[in-house]
């Protein structure tokens, strides 16, 4: 039963509009059976709406939803073989833990639920708490009840709506591993909605980054991180340094670019933008891929690396690494994360430095985008209207 496609979720042309506001633009998406899939985006990006359309809690304005071969677009939630772990859990306050977990079984007319419920509570290590009310449990325990209540129904797909949002950091780490373990054990398709990029990358096999009602990019976490296709993905997943550059020439599989008087090399394969000579391209590089060398030692830098000169504006010691902010002609606030292996005592604010990195780590983006899209603001608010 594991290699069939009955747990595939297939969305085709699905969209949702509220009056003039488009929450989700027509969207095609296939989540294969047994995968752990994450929908990642800031609040208001349409990820929860997408999830609710799969659950049947929201009616799509257009398009169809398939579970395996079965079309479920018009089925109400209580007829879909799909279960949800709700944001802030939505445990029934008037029922105890046992009855909360047994709820789905009882509604489907199953009489002898005791064994199943007890086994399930054992799986999430809550056997002792069966007769308590939800409000008597801690946040982490409530979270596990919510998972148990959904999983006991053996749904074809488990939907998780920000399931860890209400937990503190340490507990969240722990539950991330726990959920991953459960998913591997039961082999059910998980679709997980989150705004936390770290959570999405730790847990999911495939991540879809959503922005303003559209999927910006879809792929494995490493793929998205190493080779983002849009400025939004580059900025939302981790941090990127983006430099505006002009296409100078091409040599073999590489593009040579002109930025602030210097030359940068970018593999053609890692550029998602059109590259006509003279056209503009955004060059991106992750902070931890950059090496920092004091200007006095510039001669020791191997040939063939991209390099930029600048001056250290600020440095902060994090422990495992030191984070530098560099002023340079091509980019006012270049971020560099440097592992604390051999610290150069001269690298203090005010020092002249050379930044250099391997061209293979460079990526190129279309320059016609907002260079700051997806940069984390203090409070990610709604308002990403179409």
């Amino acid at each position: 039963m594991t290699n069939d496609s009955s747990g595939d979720v297939r969305l085709s042309g699905i969209s949702k509009t509220y009056g003039a506001f488009t929450a989700v633009h027509p969207l095609d998406l296939t989540v294969p059976q047994g995968s752990f899939f994450a929908l990642l985006g800031a609040s208001g990006c349409g990820k929860t709406t997408t999830l609710r359309m799969i659950a049947g809690l929201e009616e799509p304005s257009s398009g169809t939803v398939f579970l395996g071969d079965q079309e479920v677009t018009n089925l109400p939630p209580y007829k879909r073989p799909v279960n949800t772990v709700f944001q802030s859990y939505a445990l029934f306050p008037h029922l105890d833990i046992f009855e909360n977990v047994a709820f789905g079984l009882r509604r489907r007319g199953i009489k002898s639920v005791k064994k199943q419920v007890e086994d399930m509570l054992e799986l999430v290590q809550l056997g002792e708490q069966a007769r308590k009310k939800p409000h008597q449990l801690s946040g982490g325990q409530q979270q596990r009840v919510a998972v148990a209540r959904a999983l006991i129904n053996h749904p074809k797909v488990l939907l998780l709506d920000e399931p860890l949002g209400a937990l503190d950091l340490k507990l969240r780490r722990q539950m991330q591993l726990e959920l991953k373990r459960i998913q591997t054990e039961v082999g059910i398709t998980f679709i997980h909605v989150t705004h936390d990029q770290e959570e999405a990358m730790t847990m999911a096999d495939t991540v879809a980054v959503m922005n303003a009602g559209r999927v910006e990019q879809l792929g494995s976490p490493a793929d998205l991180y190493e080779n983002p296709n849009t400025t939004f993905v580059a900025n939302f997943l981790g941090t990127s340094n983006l430099i505006e550059a002009a296409v100078d020439s091409k040599s073999g599989d590489d593009i040579v670019l002109q930025a602030g008087g210097g030359k940068l090399v970018l593999p053609q394969a890692r550029c998602s933008a059109p590259t006509a000579t003279g056209g503009k391209v955004l060059v991106g590089i992750r902070p931890e891929k950059i090496s920092l060398t004091h200007a006095d030692d510039a001669g020791e830098i191997p040939e063939g690396r991209n390099r930029i000169t600048g001056k250290i504006a600020d440095s902060s010691f994090i422990g495992v690494s030191t984070q530098y902010v560099i002023d340079s002609a091509v980019c006012p606030e270049f971020e560099v994360y440097s592992q604390n292996i051999d610290r150069d005592a001269r690298l203090t604010p005010g020092a002249d430095v050379v930044l250099h990195w391997s061209p293979a780590h460079t990526f190129g983006l279309d320059a016609a985008q907002d260079i700051d899209a997806g940069v984390e603001t203090v409070e990610p608010e709604e308002g990403v209207a179409a």
């Binding site: 039963m1 009616e59 079965q70 079309e71 479920v72 677009t73 018009n74 089925l75 109400p76 007829k79 879909r80 073989p81 079984l105 489907r108 007319g109 199953i110 199943q116 006991i152 129904n153 053996h154």
Partner: protein
């Protein structure tokens, strides 16, 4: 996967119409009986009353709509003292309720600790003794020559109230003071409960924060607690003033002919003299006056969502 086999089959039914669209009419069905009830037995009577107020005629020959607006002017000319008294007594009772009720609400919300539930019960429980019986008890409490009147007399309080015109001679009963006292007593819980509700919502840490920011206890109250309890103050004063201004029980049981309020007049006109147009006009004026005052008050205090 045992449960899945036991579950009822989930057959695909793509031809079925979206089931939730059917629910469009549900709210109207839910509203229908109750709203109909209010329209027929609340709104419609208002219209009947409006029409009655401009009728002329007599009980024997029947009443006819003659658009006789003069009734309103006559009613106002004849009964303006009762209107004035209603506003004054109800206003005084409302202020007294606020002054007396606030400390008790504050006590329950912040200082009662484990006594909170008991005090709450003691505030609500008197409701279950008919308010008429309790109002009659004030006749005993304020009886001529009784301990309360004696005490007020020896403390020379009565001299002051006599001079103000609230009492006369050695009596409290059958004076405005007794009526206001009865009104205050009757509507005090309607002040305390909304006050308590809005005080209880205030985060206790706000008091600490205010203290931390150099506010003395009274300043804390004036600048933090009281403004935050404004919704309670507004709904409390409305819940007190509105019924008090239309009340005639206290004026009848504890007052005299000199303390008659507009409620007494409406009751007499309607049930004894049977002058329906005048009674209807009077109650319309009362209603309009209260609606105008309430609207102005709510506008001014900026709390629109009371319901």
């Amino acid at each position: 996967m045992a449960a899945v086999t036991e579950a009822p089959p989930l057959a695909p039914q793509p031809a079925e119409k979206p089931p939730r669209k059917r629910g469009r009419l549900v709210p109207y069905w839910l509203l229908l009986p109750g709203i109909l009830w209010l329209i027929v037995f609340f709104a419609l009577p208002m219209i009947y009353q409006a029409s009655t107020s401009v009728q002329t005629g007599s009980l024997e020959q029947g009443f006819k709509v003659t658009w006789h607006f003069q009734t309103y002017w006559d009613a106002l000319a004849d009964y303006w003292p009762q209107f004035l008294r209603s506003v004054l007594y109800a206003g005084a009772a409302t202020i007294l309720c606020l002054v007396l009720g606030y400390p008790l609400a504050y006590l329950i919300a912040f200082r009662a600790g484990r006594w909170r539930n008991l005090i709450m019960i003691l505030v609500i429980a008197p409701f279950f003794t008919s308010f008429l019986i309790r109002t009659l008890a004030w006749k005993t409490i304020l009886a001529d020559g009784g301990p309360v009147v004696g005490a007020l007399n020896s403390l020379h309080v009565l001299d002051v109230t006599n001079w103000l015109g609230f009492t006369s001679g050695d009596r409290v009963l059958a004076t405005p003071l007794a009526v206001v006292c009865g009104l205050t007593y009757n509507f005090l819980p309607f002040m305390i409960l909304p006050l308590y509700t809005s005080l209880e919502r205030i985060d206790g840490r706000l008091h600490e924060a205010a203290g931390d920011l150099y506010a003395a206890p009274f300043t804390t109250f004036r600048k933090v607690t009281f403004p935050l309890s404004m919704p309670g103050v507004v709904s409390g004063t409305l819940l007190t003033f509105i019924p008090a201004s239309g009340d005639y029980v206290n004026a009848d049981l504890l007052g005299s002919t000199d303390t008659r309020m507009v409620g007494n007049v409406i009751q007499t006109q309607f049930l004894r003299i049977l002058d329906y147009p005048t009674a209807a006009a009077l109650s319309f004026i009362l209603m309009a006056a209260i609606l105008i005052m309430v609207t102005l008050y709510i506008r001014k205090s900026g709390t629109e969502d009371l319901v």
